[in-house]
């Protein structure tokens, strides 16, 4: 660069224009730009999108818009920044430009900002191609030759890598270990003693498990972590999302039906935009309904909306591309080729998207509602009468509409207006709809807000004696007793396209240049061109054959689920700062094969779990110095995720309810946790629902169930690519003392005594099979027996088994 600068400085050329006190551009101006500016505003990753090394770019400006207005230094941002006339100053840091240089720039701009043709181009070149491994195209590598050649190509890749270190794979795990492993990995459930006794090949077991309805439950959990799935809004009041589970059901079903991963993707990102979108496809768009909402009074609605759009952009990039787009929200990415402009181009895809609940009544629901309709209407009528709604609400609406026209005029009413937007989705739109045009549901929703917040009208003489609060509560009770038809939380494109602007420093109050939807420049272009650049195009682009990231990122997630660690250990970051792949060829081979297979998810899982690499024993061997097991000379033991810890205890004890799908349930919650909760109602589910799988435990974001928290379930605030696996005393207390685990211990004891009345020998064998899928060793049996003999019943021993490390670990 130094040499280029000198060369450029020698090729001096006279300016085209000659004005009074004309400025010599090259000698006076360009020397300042080169000396003080282009270190950050040059060709290589220009800051704030501004390049000052080339005329065309310099005059075009950066993220904030143009910075040089020829003839008008006073409104040229370049001048204002160096002259200290803005809140921030340039160059950054302490050193200011000398006054004489500031004056030179002023004179240059005021004199017309002439920039001669001869030096219009820059000597600098932006970096040619992006060389980072994950951005290079996926080429299917040849399967390495290994003797004897393994049947499963995965093993050839793993063996050849190990051989380079002089290592071999471990022998196959013991049959019971392998069965317990593959049951937990494919269905999240333990093999029963009867299943252990089946005579079938391992492959037959795998195929059977892939067809199990519990397969979808197990793999949905992985995806729900990515989708930040929860049953409540998140912020402040953290209202319940009654229909959130419709998305969860869709995910479970999609895994069970083995929906190809490309369809799986397109439907979640843009299912609503598919021609004749079905209810199922709308339910899939629930992926982006998992974004947090705030209903805190006084919140800035536009700020919340931009946060939500941002979350959708970041999550999409993280889940499908393993890119940390969040970094580029405020500035160009420090490590990866993602500019701030790239961020807002991605943001623009989601900026005109809005939340909508589609009708989605459940079987039999409409009949029930029809039957109860007269009674509902009668009570609803009483509430309307009690709140004198017919008389007062129009007056209230008139005042709120006036506030909408002039928010500064009457502030008490503006508060009601603001509240309407926060409290009721599409509240302002409903208010603006003429009463006769409103749907019954919209009319009800507006009345609900009226009763909740009548505003100053409450103290008007004509409202004297009206108990708004009481009637609001009655309405809430009524709706709780007669819930309306179920709905499907979905997304849709807004009728009007919202302009997207880049936010300077990520601050929504500082809009910069206008931005159109587009894909990051380091990645293939959005093709085919000519089609609208919308969410559907984005989703299809992700799944296009040229995309270097999607397939790699996806297969890595499946691998992580089956080995406890991805081939890339940072599934959320495939960028420069992420972990490089331990087996790059294997990753690419899997990615290419996955794509070639038509994105067959079950096929990919089957391929992995039938490999020898997967079937290995997990025990570390001496002589293999690889504590993190990157080279895969063995399988990996790891603690079960929170939900499966719960499921295992309920299943071993025979309490588990195995119904698949449906609304979330509320198992018992400790009192202390409830005290912390803010306006949270936790009505315990009736008997059978208390024993549903952990996947169905109601997830209240502000107060997640402590059992889930103790065992590292993610907070569902942002997308989560991998869970931590901690070991804590609170986990011990949880398993030792929580009522549901104590209950499970009692039930397990009763089951052992009931099913095996023949004495301790067969009982201890049965107990171990239930919990660990294996018989006890003689010393283990002896330890249990000594304790059992001193008590005369199985309760304490059963509790101990449910607390063992082995019980909550998948080996």
């Amino acid at each position: 660069m130094q040499i280029r600068l000198i060369v450029a400085a020698i090729i001096l050329a006279p300016a085209r224009f000659s004005l009074a006190q004309s400025v010599d551009f090259v000698r006076e101006v360009q020397s300042i730009l080169r000396g003080k500016c282009i270190g950050c505003h040059g060709a290589d990753r220009p800051q704030s999108g501004l390049r000052l090394d080339r005329r065309e770019d310099a005059l075009k400006g950066g993220y904030s818009g143009t910075v040089i207005k020829p003839g008008d230094s006073a409104s040229s941002r370049l001048f204002r920044l160096v002259a200290g006339k803005e809140a921030i100053a340039m160059p950054p840091g302490k050193a200011r430009l000398p006054a004489v240089e500031v004056e030179t720039l002023r004179r240059w701009i005021d004199g017309g900002a002439a920039w001669p043709d001869s030096v219009a181009e820059s000597g600098e070149q932006p970096p040619a191609a992006y060389s980072h491994w994950s951005l290079r195209p996926i080429r299917k590598p040849p399967v390495p030759g290994v003797t004897p050649q393994p049947r499963n190509p995965i093993d050839a890749f793993v063996e050849s890598k190990l051989a380079a270190n002089g290592w071999r794979m471990s022998p196959e795990a013991a049959r019971h270990t392998l069965l317990r492993r593959v049951y937990l990995d494919l269905t999240g459930l333990l093999p029963s003693p009867a299943e252990l006794a089946r005579t079938e090949s391992y492959e037959q077991t795998v195929d059977r498990l892939l067809k199990s309805p519990h397969f979808g439950e197990k793999w949905a959990r992985m995806w729900l972590d990515l989708a930040r799935y929860a049953d409540s809004d998140g912020y402040e009041q953290d209202q319940v999302r009654r229909h959130a589970w419709r998305y969860r059901d869709w995910v479970i079903g999609a895994f069970n039906r083995n929906v190809p991963f490309d369809r799986f993707t397109v439907e979640q990102i843009a299912g609503d935009m598919l021609p004749g979108a079905s209810s199922e496809q709308l339910a899939a768009t629930g992926f982006h309904r998992q974004t947090l909402t705030s209903r805190e009074g006084g919140i800035d609605v536009e700020q919340l909306r931009t946060e939500q759009v941002t979350d959708r952009a970041i999550t999409t990039a993280s889940v499908w591309m393993g890119l940390t787009f969040e970094c580029a929200r405020c500035h160009d990415h420090k490590y990866d080729p993602i500019s701030q402009l790239d961020f807002y181009r991605l943001y623009a895809f989601f900026n005109s998207t809005e939340e909508v609940n589609a009708a989605g009544p459940l079987a039999g629901e409409m009949e029930r509602i029809e039957r109860s309709k007269p009674e509902y209407e009668r009570q609803y009528g009483e509430i309307l009468a009690g709140g004198r709604v017919a008389d007062l609400q129009p007056k209230w609406e008139a005042e709120v509409l006036k506030a909408m026209a002039d928010p500064a005029a009457r502030l008490e009413w503006t508060q009601v207006l603001d509240y309407l937007a926060v409290y009721q989705d599409h509240g302002h739109a409903i208010l603006k709809t003429a009463p006769a045009q409103r749907t019954a549901r919209q009319a009800h929703d507006l009345t609900r807000v009226f009763l909740k917040d009548p505003g100053p009208l409450a103290s008007w003489p004509e409202a004297k004696g009206v108990k708004f609060g009481d009637n609001f509560k009655k309405l809430e009770d009524l709706n709780a007793r007669y819930p309306g038809p179920s709905e499907i939380p979905a997304m849709r494109e807004s009728a009007t396209r919202r302009e997207t602007r880049l936010f300077l420093r990520g601050d929504f109050r500082s809009p910069g240049i206008a931005v159109l939807p587009g894909t990051p420049r380091a990645l293939p272009p959005l093709v085919p061109s000519g089609l609208p650049a919308d969410r559907l195009a984005l989703a299809r682009w992700l799944m296009s054959a040229e995309h270097p990231l999607t397939a790699r990122v996806a297969v890595n997630r499946f691998w992580q689920e089956l080995f406890g660690r991805g081939l890339v250990a940072t599934p959320e970051d495939f960028g420069e700062r992420g972990d490089p792949p331990s087996h790059p060829e294997l990753l690419d081979w899997l990615a290419a094969s996955f794509r070639e297979s038509g994105w067959d998810m079950k096929g990919l899982i089957r391929r992995i779990v039938t490999s020898r690499a997967y079937r290995q024993a997990s025990r570390p061997r001496t002589g293999i110095d690889d504590p993190d097991n990157r080279m895969l000379a063995r399988q990996q033991r790891f603690r079960l995720p929170a939900e499966l810890v719960r499921d295992a205890a309920l299943q071993a004890s025979g309490l588990l309810q195995t119904a698949v799908g449906g609304p979330s349930v509320r198992p018992p919650m400790p009192l202390g946790t409830l005290k912390v909760a803010y306006r949270m109602k936790w009505e315990e589910s009736p008997a059978a629902d208390r024993y549903r799988r952990g996947l169905y435990t109601f997830f209240q974001r502000s107060v997640p169930h402590p059992m889930l928290v103790n065992f590292d379930a993610p907070a569902a605030m942002t997308t989560c690519s991998r869970r931590t696996r901690s070991v804590t005393p609170l986990q011990a207390l949880n398993l030792l003392n929580a009522p549901e685990f104590a209950e499970a211990a009692g039930a397990l004891a009763a089951r052992i005594e009931r099913d095996r009345p023949g004495g301790f020998g067969e009982q201890v064998r049965y107990a171990f099979e239930l919990c660990f899928a294996r018989p006890p060793s003689p010393p283990e049996a002896a330890l249990v027996e000594r304790y059992y003999r001193s008590r005369g019943n199985w309760t304490g021993a059963a509790a101990a088994l449910l607390n063992l490390d082995e019980f909550i670990v998948r080996d």
Binding site: Y235, E236, D238, L292, S294, G297, G298, I299, E307, S318, A408, L411, T414, Q415, T570, R577, S618, R619, P620, R637, P670, L671, T673, K675, V676, A677, Y678, M680, S702, V703, P706, V709, N710, F711, D712, A715, M717, T718, T724, S726, V727, T728, P729, L730, Q731, A732, L733, N734, L736, N737, A738, A742, S777, P779, V784, Y787, G796, A800, L804, D805
Partner: protein, 440 residues
């Protein structure tokens, strides 16, 4: 790194620490600085009038508009102690300890709503999912307690918190660093109490069986994680006796109970929690979060604040005295404050009724105080303008407060990081400066 027994191992600080523990008296909802710590006589002159237009520019409030009317505090302020720090008559006990306090009048934040404001104050970001300050400290310094969690949360007050567990969650840090809520009645920690019919001896017997079987497995597999689990069970067992012992105040003298007001209303609940905070610090708990809700008086501020002051003033003062008398104040940093202050402007929905007046959220200028390990006693940091609208001298952002608290604990806030989603996160995000004027 972490100890393998599920207890955060003690780690070396970056520099010599001035304090070992933190007691954070979190005044949820936002106490009114102009009625407590930051006297503004100029407001009296403008009382009942809107702000001059020049001062309205750029103001953002949650509820009121910039044209709302000035409401001067009706509280008399007096100078106290050698330091002469001015405190209002609502806090007579704390005022007598003015020489212990480092009063920061220069606090500000950008978050004018509760939840984001509280998240910023506790976790360094208005967005959810970040680790709490206590979690960061536990991660950075480890726990000194052999039998109690290193980060404990106590709650009091009539209205309950509004942000719930997010304020003391470990975020993306492992769950061993989470704040553990202690209830002062019933079951102090979730799942601490043994199941019905299981006494200590029976639980010990079960634990011995668990241990024996886990050890067999360990011998067979050699996975050190099993060792960690064995240790975690032992710690859990100790916790079951240590937590009730901690809560058992029967060995505290009547004089002590009385000094905290733990023996009478209206100070009973908050006073008990303050006393528990001292007992926790004595037992090596690294971070005690003591949350009192709520100061969010949009209306009827006079009665609301008066009640909160009557509830908290004496216990706060007693806590300082007690820590000092036991030699613990030097190694304990006490922090008092809310997520923002309250506007010098009035908020009202019932015009004309003085008693109904309240104040809106005010993040632009508010007051917190600190005492104990590492901070300069009897000092005032920061000055607000004549109307208390903005900080004009020694501005202290919440990030700066965090940097300073970590500094007192021997931690360089820029070096305490955790890699998450591809980048190194820290409590102070990408900001924060240690405020040396606050340091002793």
């Amino acid at each position: 790194m972490l100890a393998r027994d599920g207890r955060a191992a003690t780690r070396s600080p970056h520099h010599t620490p001035r304090a070992k523990n933190v007691i954070f008296l979190f005044m949820e909802g936002g106490p009114s600085q102009v009625d407590l710590f930051d006297p503004k006589p100029e407001l009296t002159r403008l009382d009942g009038q809107p702000l001059p237009p020049s001062l309205r520019e750029g103001l953002r409030f949650a509820f009121i508009k910039p044209t709302a009317k000035v409401w001067a505090s009706r509280r008399p302020f007096q100078r106290h102690g050698q330091s002469g720090i001015e405190v209002s008559d609502w806090l007579p006990q704390l005022a007598r300890r003015a020489d212990e306090l480092c009063v920061v009048r220069g606090m500000f934040s950008e978050q004018f709503n509760h939840h984001p404001g509280q998240l910023l104050l506790h976790c360094g970001s208005p967005l959810v999912g970040r680790p709490s300050m206590g979690s960061w400290l536990l991660y950075g310094l480890g726990s000194e307690s052999e039998s109690l969690p290193g980060f404990v949360v106590l709650q009091s007050g009539p209205r309950g918190g509004s942000s719930s567990t997010g304020l003391f969650a470990s975020g993306f840090l492992p769950s061993e660093f989470q704040g553990v809520p202690f209830a002062s009645g019933g079951e102090p920690i979730a799942y601490l109490n043994r199941p019905a019919g299981v006494d200590t001896a029976e639980q010990r017997a079960r634990l011995d069986l668990i241990r024996g079987l886990n050890e067999q497995r360990l011998a067979e597999l050699g996975d050190s994680e099993i060792n960690a689990r064995i240790a975690a069970y032992e710690l859990a067992f100790r916790m079951q006796s240590a937590a009730p012992e901690l809560l058992d105040l029967s060995k505290e003298s009547a004089a002590t109970l009385s000094s905290y007001g733990a023996d009478r209303e209206p100070t009973r609940q908050f006073g008990t929690n303050c006393l528990l905070a001292r007992r926790m610090v004595e037992r090596g708990v690294r971070f005690v979060l003591l949350s009192h809700a709520s100061w969010d008086d949009h209306g009827s501020l006079v009665s609301g604040h008066q009640k909160n002051c009557e509830t908290t003033d004496l216990p706060c003062a007693a806590l300082l005295d007690d820590l000092k008398q036991r030699g613990l104040l030097d190694e304990t940093l006490v922090v008092w404050g809310g997520e923002f202050g309250r506007t010098p402007l009035a908020q009202t929905l019932s015009p004309g009724e003085q008693s109904a007046l309240g104040r809106d959220h005010h993040p632009d200028a508010f007051t917190i105080w600190l005492a104990g390990g590492g901070v300069r006693p009897g000092s005032v940091v920061g000055r607000t303008d004549d109307l208390g609208m903005k900080v004009v001298e020694d501005r202290v952002h919440v990030h700066d407060l965090h940097a300073t608290v970590l500094h007192c604990l021997g931690i360089d806030h820029k070096r305490l990081t955790w890699r998450h989603q591809g980048r190194d996160f820290r409590l102070t995000d990408v900001a924060g400066n240690v405020i040396h004027k606050m340091l002793a």
